[in-house]
């Protein structure tokens, strides 16, 4: 078909610099640039900012968010949302702790906890699929239930005093002189690289983009959407459990208070990273940069001593600004 359209498409592709890059590249690139600029500005004023110990802290502090964001990214790509992670996170910290205190060997406790996270994820997907409700509502219900369950099983007091060996997951690390490079950072890095690569190249993982792009079409293309979503929410739940286990190890304690508003921080980071809440777009790299960006903002407050009352205002404004920027790019490019 010597169709004018294909020609037009080609013409337009050559039209502007912006069009040469995929939208994703542009968004991620823009965010990376923003991060660099921000880092330089803060660094010039507060020279500790880019010191190795501080960079380490920045990473470690937002490790739970970063790990949970891996799952959330995929959930959002499928046009879903998972609020329950903020319940699963403390829940799994508590469960792994209680199991160990009850005498379970560390690996058993961890495996059971991961399984518990996966089961909660499966319940999310089941409710959303079976009763055809938006995952926002399904996962909200589960979040509320878990918050209650967390209080009940802890009686409101922290759980602590875990066996020695457990420290390896969140506390122990390589001594770098001045700071400890925790093993948990490698857990995150491994998970991020793995999910990032799979989401880019693996046949099965890529289906999430189809489902988010157009669910009906996905179904007509032979994708079992419901079953796929079970996988996605189980993944999200499991990753939240990983984060919970790490945090329990890091603090050598677990408390129902962990993870307040965590879901919102994670969603914010993922969206800043270019994921589209309407589904079909998002990337692990983008989400990780999103988490980094937020981590830097929080850290900059600690560095600068500027009243942290402004923190909420700044994070909110940053969120809006980054969305506007992404939107502007999209429009310029179109």
């Amino acid at each position: 078909m010597q169709d004018a359209q294909a020609m037009r498409a080609k013409q337009a592709a050559d039209a502007g610099l912006l069009r040469r890059f995929s939208l994703e590249t542009l968004q991620v690139g823009g965010l990376a640039l923003a991060i660099v600029v921000f880092a330089i500005v803060v660094q010039l004023n507060f020279p500790v900012f880019l010191s190795l110990p501080n960079i380490n802290v920045m990473f470690v502090n937002f490790l739970p968010e970063a790990i949970i964001a891996l799952g959330m990214t995929i959930v959002i790509i499928t046009a879903g949302i998972d609020l329950s992670v903020a319940g699963i996170y403390p829940f799994s910290a508590i469960v792994v702790g209680l199991l160990m205190l009850a005498g379970a060997p560390i690996p058993v406790a961890i495996l059971l906890t991961l399984a518990a996270g996966a089961v909660v994820g499966a319940v999310n997907a089941f409710i959303s699929n079976k009763f055809r409700v938006h995952p926002f509502i399904a996962t909200l219900a589960i979040l509320l239930i878990l918050r209650g369950v967390n209080i009940i099983i802890t009686g409101g007091s922290p759980v602590s005093g875990f066996p020695e060996g457990f420290a390896i997951f969140g506390q122990a690390g390589i001594d770098m002189g001045g700071f400890t490079l925790r093993y948990s950072v490698f857990i995150w890095l491994g998970l991020a690289l793995l999910t990032g690569y799979l989401l880019r190249h693996h046949r099965f993982w890529r289906l999430s983009y189809f489902i988010g792009g157009n669910r009906r079409s996905a179904r007509m293309s032979g994708i079992n959407v419901e079953r796929y979503l079970v996988f996605v929410y189980m993944l999200s739940g499991t990753l939240a459990a990983v984060a919970g286990i790490i945090v329990a190890s890091q603090f050598n304690a677990a408390n129902n208070s962990y993870g307040q508003n965590l879901e919102l921080r994670v969603i914010t980071a993922v969206v800043i990273g270019g994921a589209d809440l309407n589904g079909g777009a998002g990337s692990i790299l983008g989400s990780m940069l999103g988490v980094l960006f937020i981590a830097m903002i929080y850290n900059a407050f600690a560095m600068s001593g500027i009243s942290t009352y402004w923190q909420d205002v700044v994070v909110g404004a940053m969120l809006l600004a980054s969305i506007l920027l992404g939107e502007a790019l999209k429009r310029r490019r179109a």
């Binding site: 004018a4 294909a6 080609k10 890529r206 792009g213 032979g222």
Partner: protein
């Protein structure tokens, strides 16, 4: 030898609504078997059952004599049944190649996609069927017509033994239809069994080896084209015949209603100038992607344009939104009724009056429900929308009746100029005749009507004058005896 695909005594109901009743049907290897019937007759439902989208309530599916029971699309494909869905199965945010090979991308180790082979495979596929589509472009960047072709390419790529095409030509223009028929001929030669669903009887008679007619969920007859005639098929479908598919042409006045001057919006269209007269039906023909929709949307204020002018009844307009256009009396009937035309989950009544709510408000914007009900009742009657219950949701109507509701909606806005884009897309013969008649009545009442259609006979049969588009420009304006198939094609393709 058993037929390639046989369905036996299929029953299917949605809730209490019986859609298929004891339907039996068979297609042989190397045969093109056309399935025709009115809108809502159950054609898509039957094929969706075969294709694994719906479950049947009763009956048997046999593939080469073997009973099968595909639970979903994927299983159907594994069995060798591939469907070109009436509602496309493409995802706009993914590339063409990814869409075609979803779930069966060529992989390297551990399920990692081999991107190069993926795109090469897609390229090879397009070469085989002779189209020039970029495998790496996002599907959403292509028009409905091209998407239709991608959907067909996708179905073919399964190398299935049975290919079901549910209205594959509804968004194609003549030359693409020719190409498709070439592809079908090749498939036939390879021994593929093809089910071809279409409302365009001309096409059906050209391509089909056998024709089966479905009416109200029951199989009412099967015949061979050579032993039958379109009239007879129509009689089988509708229960009566039509003397003429097109109403007599009208008397065109001199008064110009809509005047378009040098309208441009590169790269979509350039220097579009024409005038629409009172009482006239002005046809616009052209290949898919020629830019006809873009021009209509620009006139309607749905999209912007870069330069040029539009005047309505001599008054120059500066329309920035559809709302202003409707207030002035310009109404656009969209080519894509589901996405951009109708409010599917809302009632017929709400749909019909949606563009005219302004006529039914009292003080402070309070709606007058009685008058709304009366208007909607009248519109149902006038446009013969069935079932005649305007509190049903549009969702539950057949395609043809949905299309009629869309027309009713546009008419209730009392247009002075109506831009009808593919007004009969996916509509059965009976409904088509009624829509044609409605458009002519409108013209006879002094409204200027523009009909954009990819179905050449329709443009020819309906229009007083025909504008031909090619690559975003007007290549000819034909009137009187100059209006002929050959002349239009010559200007459209060149």
């Amino acid at each position: 030898m058993p037929p390639a695909l046989e369905v036996k005594e299929i029953n299917k109901s949605f809730g209490s609504h019986r859609v298929l009743h004891e339907v039996s049907f068979a297609v042989e290897a190397g045969e093109v078997h056309a399935l025709v019937g009115e809108n809502g007759a159950g054609k898509s439902t039957l094929m969706n059952i075969v294709g694994g989208i719906h479950n049947r309530d009763a009956g048997e599916l046999l593939l080469k004599g073997q009973a099968i029971d595909p639970a979903d699309v994927w299983q159907a494909r594994q069995l060798g049944i591939s469907v070109v869905f009436q509602e496309l199965s493409l995802t706009p945010n993914m590339t063409v190649a990814q869409n075609i090979f979803v779930r069966r991308e060529p992989t390297k180790a551990l399920g990692m996609i081999d991107w190069q082979r993926l795109n090469a495979d897609a390229r090879a596929l397009f070469e085989q069927i002779g189209v020039d589509i970029s495998p790496t472009e996002l599907v959403g960047n292509y028009s409905v017509g091209i998407q239709q072709i991608i959907e067909i390419a996708k179905a073919i790529s399964f190398e299935a033994e049975v290919i079901i095409m549910d209205e594959p030509t509804s968004a194609l223009s003549e030359s693409e239809v020719d190409r498709l028929f070439g592809i079908i001929a090749d498939l036939k030669a390879q021994g593929v069994a093809i089910v071809f669903i279409s409302h365009k009887l001309g096409e059906v008679f050209r391509i089909a080896d056998r024709i089966s007619v479905l009416r109200d969920g029951e199989m009412v007859g099967a015949t061979k084209p050579a032993e039958s005639s379109p009239d007879e098929i129509i009689r089988l479908m509708v229960g009566r015949s039509f003397d003429d598919l097109y109403p007599p042409k009208g008397v065109v006045g001199d008064e110009v209603i809509l005047e378009v001057r040098e309208l441009s919006h590169p790269p979509l269209f350039h220097d579009i100038s024409f005038s629409l007269r009172k009482g006239e039906i002005l046809g616009i023909a052209g290949l898919v992607g020629a830019g006809r929709t873009e021009v209509a949307r620009a006139i309607f204020g749905a999209d912007s344009y870069s330069s040029g002018s539009i005047a309505l009844a001599g008054e120059r307009l500066d329309i920035k939104s559809p709302r202003e256009a409707i207030e002035k009396g310009i109404v656009y009937l969209t080519e894509d009724r589901k996405v951009m035309g109708l409010f599917l989950s809302m009632t017929m009544r709400e749909n019909i009056v949606s563009a005219a709510l302004g006529r039914f408000v009292g003080a402070l914007g309070i709606l007058q429900h009685k008058e709304i009900a009366a208007e909607s009742g009248r519109a149902m009657q006038r446009n013969d929308i069935r079932p005649r219950d305007d509190l049903l949701s549009v969702n539950s109507l057949s395609g043809g009746n949905q299309q009629k509701s869309l027309l009713a909606k546009c008419l209730s806005a009392n247009p002075k100029a109506l831009l009808a884009d593919e007004p009969t897309r996916g509509v059965d013969v009976g409904a088509k005749v009624k829509i044609h008649q409605a458009l002519r009545d409108l013209a006879n009442h002094g409204v200027g009507v523009i009909v954009i259609s990819s179905e050449l006979p329709e443009v020819l049969g309906l229009s007083d004058r025909v504008i031909v588009f090619r690559e975003g420009r007007i290549s000819a304006i034909l009137a009187g005896d100059n209006i002929s198939q050959a002349e239009v094609m010559r200007h459209a393709v060149q």
